[in-house]
C-alpha cells in the first residue's frame, strides 16, 4: 500500500509548468510533510494525488492504480484530500451529515462507526447536529479533517490543516495525529507550521520553483539551512533562537 509519483510534471492549461519531474513515495503509517513558498504548487500537488488534476507527464500511482486512468470516485476510496479553505468543501446542513457524506457515498460498510470515530477524534461529537457555518473557523477546519478521517481511506492528505487553529484545536489535532498513526494511515500534509508538525513528520519534501529540492528524513531537515533559505523559507522563530541561544 503506497503512493508513488514517477517523474511527474504538471502545467495548468495554457500555463507554464507548475511542478517539474517529481518522484517520491509515501507509505501507510508514514507522515510526509510538504513545505514550500506560497504559490509554489503545494496545493496543486495534493490535487494530483486524488485525480482532480492529471499529470501532464509522468505517473501518479495510488496503491498501484494510475490516476490518469482511474475515476476520482475509485481513487477516493484510497486517498482523501482536504482543501485549504473549508468553504471550498463544506456543503451539508449539519456537521454529522457533512462527515457522513464521504463514507456513505464510498459505500463503506460501517458508516456509523466511521463517523462516530472521526467526530470523536476531532472532538466535534457534541456539536454533530449544528450547522457547519455556526462553527468558528478553526473548528470548521477540524470538520474537514473529520470528513477525511471518516472516509476510511488509507491515505489522508491535508492542505494547511493547522492554519488558524488555536491552542485548543492544536491539542486536538496532535491527539488525532497520534491516533491516525496507530491506525497505520498514511499522511501527506502541506503546511508552513513546522513548529507543530515537524515532530510528527517522518519525511519532509521541500518544493522550490516547481522542483523537489529536498526529500528525506524529517529529523535532518532543520540542519538543511541553505536549502531552506534557497527555497525562500524560514524556520520558525523559536528554532532560529534555539540555535543562537545555544551558542
Amino acid at each position: 500500500m503506497s503512493i508513488e509519483l514517477r517523474n511527474v510534471s504538471f502545467a495548468y492549461p495554457g500555463g507554464k509548468p507548475v511542478l517539474r519531474d517529481l518522484s517520491f513515495s509515501a507509505e501507510r503509517g508514514g507522515f510526509l510533510l510538504v513545505i514550500g513558498q506560497n504559490g509554489v504548487g503545494k496545493s496543486t500537488l495534493l490535487k494530483l494525488l486524488n485525480g482532480i488534476l492529471k499529470p501532464t507527464s509522468g505517473q501518479v500511482l495510488i496503491n498501484g492504480m494510475d490516476t490518469a486512468t482511474q475515476p476520482t470516485s475509485r481513487l477516493a476510496k484510497e486517498i482523501c484530500v482536504t482543501f485549504q479553505n473549508p468553504a471550498d468543501q463544506i456543503f451539508a446542513p449539519t456537521i454529522r451529515a457533512e462527515v457522513e457524506f464521504g463514507p456513505r457515498n464510498l459505500r463503506r460498510e460501517n458508516v456509523g462507526q466511521l463517523v462516530d470515530n472521526a467526530l470523536s477524534l476531532c472532538e466535534l461529537d457534541a456539536l454533530s447536529s449544528h450547522h457547519p457555518y455556526d462553527l468558528p473557523a478553526a473548528q470548521r477546519k477540524l470538520l474537514t479533517v473529520a470528513s477525511a478521517i471518516a472516509s476510511g481511506a488509507s491515505f489522508l492528505a491535508f492542505d494547511e490543516p493547522s492554519a488558524g487553529l488555536s491552542q485548543i484545536e492544536r491539542s486536538i489535532f496532535e491527539r488525532l495525529l497520534s491516533a491516525l498513526k496507530k491506525e497505520e494511515r498514511g499522511l501527506i500534509v502541506v503546511s508552513h507550521d513546522l513548529a507543530l508538525l515537524l515532530p510528527y513528520a517522518t519525511t519532509v519534501l521541500i518544493l522550490a520553483r516547481g522542483e523537489m529540492t529536498y526529500y528525506g528524513d524529517a529529523d535532518a531537515v532543520t540542519q538543511q539551512r541553505e536549502l531552506i533559505r534557497k527555497a525562500g523559507l524560514r524556520l520558525p522563530l523559536p528554532y532560529r533562537l534555539e540555535k543562537l541561544l545555544g551558542k
Binding site: 513558498q37 491552542q167 508552513h192 522563530l237 533562537l241
Partner: protein
C-alpha cells in the same frame, strides 16, 4: 494620522438570547502603536475587531452593546452605527471573502478599493505597484485574483485594505496562510507603518506578534486576562500555556530574559527582535 483607541466597559451580545461574547472590556491602545490580541477560538477576538471596524451592526443588527468605543476624536456610545472604512481598515480572517472578484486582475482588485473610497490618484500604478512589491506579490499583478494560492490570496486581500492607508488598521489573523518569508515581509511593512497607523492584530499564536507589537492582550471568553508589554508577557507566559501554543518558547524563556537584560550587543539585538524593552 494615527488614532488612539479607547474602549471603556464595553460588552457585546449577538442577541438578547445569547451570552456575552465581550464582557466589560477596558482597553487603551495609544496612537501609532501595535497591539496583538491573542487567545483561543471563541475568545471574542474577531468580534472585537468587527466592533471597532463598525461592521458588527451591519452583520448583526440585533446585537446588543454597552459601554463606549473611542477612535481618535470619535466617541461611540456602544457599537459604531456604520462601517468606518477607510478611517478604520479591517482585513478579514477569511481572505477569500475580502476579494470582491469583480475585477479580472490583482491590480484591478486593489484599484477597486481606491475607486470605492474616491482616492484614485492620477497615476494609480505609482501607488499600487510599490505596495504589491512590498508584499512580494508584484509578479501576480495581472493574475485573476480568484485563481491564486491561499497565501497569495491573503496578501492580495491585505493589499486591498493597505492601499487605502487607514489610520487604524485591524488585521484578523493576518498570516494564517502565509509562508514565513511572507510573514517577515508583512512584519517589515507593519513596522514601517507604525508612525502613521494604529494597528491591532489578532492571532492564536505568539510568534508573529513578537517584534512588532508594543502591547499584548490575552482574551478568553470575552474577558481580558492580560494586558501588558511583550516583556511582561514573556515573564508570565506559563499562565497562558493552555490558551496559546507556547511549548517551543517556554524552555527558552529563562535564557531569553537573562540575555536581554545584559548590556551586550547580542542581548540588545535579541531584545529588538522580540520587541522587549
Amino acid at each position: 494620522m494615527a488614532d488612539r483607541i479607547n474602549i471603556q466597559a464595553f460588552s457585546l451580545q449577538y442577541s438578547a438570547a445569547t451570552p456575552r461574547v465581550l464582557s466589560s472590556l477596558i482597553l487603551e491602545i495609544p496612537r501609532g502603536t501595535c497591539c496583538a490580541i491573542l487567545g483561543p477560538t471563541g475568545a471574542g477576538k474577531s468580534s472585537l475587531l468587527h466592533c471597532l471596524a463598525g461592521t458588527m451592526r451591519r452583520h448583526h443588527p440585533e446585537s446588543l452593546s454597552s459601554g463606549s468605543i473611542q477612535i481618535g476624536d470619535r466617541l461611540f456610545d456602544g457599537l459604531p452605527p456604520r462601517v468606518l472604512f477607510p478611517a478604520v481598515g479591517l482585513a478579514l480572517q477569511d481572505p477569500h471573502v475580502q476579494i470582491s472578484g469583480v475585477r479580472d486582475t490583482v491590480f484591478g482588485e486593489v484599484l477597486f478599493t481606491l475607486e470605492n473610497t474616491s482616492q484614485v490618484p492620477e497615476d494609480p500604478s505609482a501607488v499600487i505597484v510599490p505596495l504589491l512589491r512590498k508584499l512580494g506579490i508584484d509578479h501576480l499583478a495581472d493574475r485573476k485574483p480568484t485563481t491564486l494560492s491561499g497565501g497569495e490570496t491573503q496578501r492580495v486581500a491585505l493589499a486591498t485594505i493597505l492601499v487605502a492607508r487607514p489610520p487604524v488598521l485591524l488585521l484578523d489573523e493576518p498570516t494564517t496562510a502565509m509562508d514565513l518569508a511572507a510573514q517577515e515581509r508583512l512584519r517589515g511593512i507593519l513596522r514601517g507603518m507604525k508612525q502613521t497607523t494604529t494597528i491591532i492584530l489578532t492571532d492564536t499564536q505568539l510568534d508573529f506578534a513578537l517584534g512588532i507589537c508594543d502591547q499584548i492582550v490575552v482574551l478568553e471568553q470575552g474577558k481580558v486576562l492580560f494586558d501588558g508589554s511583550p516583556g511582561k508577557f514573556l515573564r508570565r507566559m506559563e499562565e497562558f500555556r493552555a490558551l496559546i501554543p507556547l511549548e517551543s518558547w517556554l524552555p527558552m524563556k529563562q535564557n531569553i530574559l537573562r540575555l536581554v537584560e545584559k548590556p551586550t550587543r547580542f542581548g540588545s539585538r535579541l531584545a529588538a527582535t522580540l520587541g522587549i524593552r
